[in-house]
Symmetry: C2
Subunit: 186 residues, 2 copies
DNA sequence: TGTCTGATGTAGCGACCGCTACATTTGCTA
DNA sequence: TAGCAAATGTAGCGGTCGCTACATCAGACA
């Protein structure tokens, strides 16, 4: 028999793909279990309840996202804001990466109405990526780098929302305007 | 007996408050009907199915949001981008108005996974507000005004997402950075 | 080898879901 | 006033939900 904790980590990793593919509103204990190739009975046994399972899966998804970003971001610190925005925008043109952004928007939306378990998960993921960007972006002080990271984060998220509902011919000029605004300013 | 079409409009208007208060993931035919003070049987009778009902309610919510924005936006055209961003940011400090933004994020999130009925609704609402801002914002040409409106729209949405998951002491400096970026640039 | 604990399978509970069949009532019209 | 169609109430279908009770089984240890 497999160890419970090992199974838990393995199942969570497997379920990242399922959640990325199907989204948050379709996740049910039975569907998650089926996607992991186990019975719903065992999913609850491993994670105690659905919220725990989902929290672990979402954090595992954030870890995987981090790995993807680390791969596409240049390792140097002191990146100009425009460069950081450009790299991230480019990264999010990939369909697989878009799934992470879609999931992120879903998590935010859920957290607005169901603080448990989504609120803490959303906060953790946001700080996670904000820290990642704070380490790379330009800025004399930590505070300035934090502001710059926040600006880029907001720009990426805002464009993601608009791109979710408008066609490319509407969003393309907006993306340029956002890039220009990120590049200039304080 | 009440006329079916009249009832439909009246019920939709009533349900705007309910959807704003409870969010999209909790809407069920029975709950909507209870909130409107009718039986679930009648809700289906008025709207044919749940998706139709929800579409009408969401568009009614957008209309109400427009009225609120029209009330807080100065009627003049040619508003500087920073001014438009400032007015909208100020408007969204109101708790009631925040509910609209929360609902907007939920609609976008849903549209990513369930195109019907959320995709068309999201597109209509986005174009709706984009047009509203395009009419008010500064710019020599229609294209420039459209870009400026898009930039402000993205800035508002991006900040809304970040404010949904981070505390005020993190978001306040970011909001300033975003405001500065919106104010400058091309 | 017997026992005991943790891992697993089977079955199902009570609640809610969207929606419908069918009977009844209401109000207009002929 | 009779008839009829639209409006409404009652009941329930088949399905999914999160979760649990209970029995079984495998393996470590005495």
């Amino acid at each position: 028999m497999a160890d419970r904790n090992e199974q838990r980590a393995r199942v969570a990793e497997t379920l990242v793909d399922h959640v990325l593919a199907t989204g948050l509103s379709q996740v049910s204990v039975r569907q998650l279990a089926a996607a992991a190739g186990i019975s719903d009975r065992m999913l609850i046994y491993y994670f105690d309840n659905k919220n725990n399972a989902l929290s672990e899966v979402l954090m595992a998804a954030a870890m995987r996202m981090e790995a993807m970003l680390n791969a596409s971001l240049p390792p140097d610190a002191g990146l100009p804001r425009a460069a950081l925005f450009g790299v991230l925008t480019e990264a999010f043109r990939d369909e697989d990466t878009k799934l992470f952004m879609a999931l992120w928007i879903e998590i935010i939306a859920k957290s607005l109405r169901e603080p448990e378990p989504y609120g803490p998960v959303a906060t953790r993921i946001a700080l996670f990526f904000l820290d990642l960007m704070t380490d790379r972006v330009e800025g004399q002080t930590r505070e300035e780098r934090r502001r710059n990271a926040g600006l880029v984060f907001a720009a990426i998220d805002g464009m993601a929302m608009i791109e979710a509902c408008l066609p490319e011919d509407e969003t393309a000029p907006m993306r340029e305007a956002v890039a220009a605004a990120v590049a200039s300013g304080s």
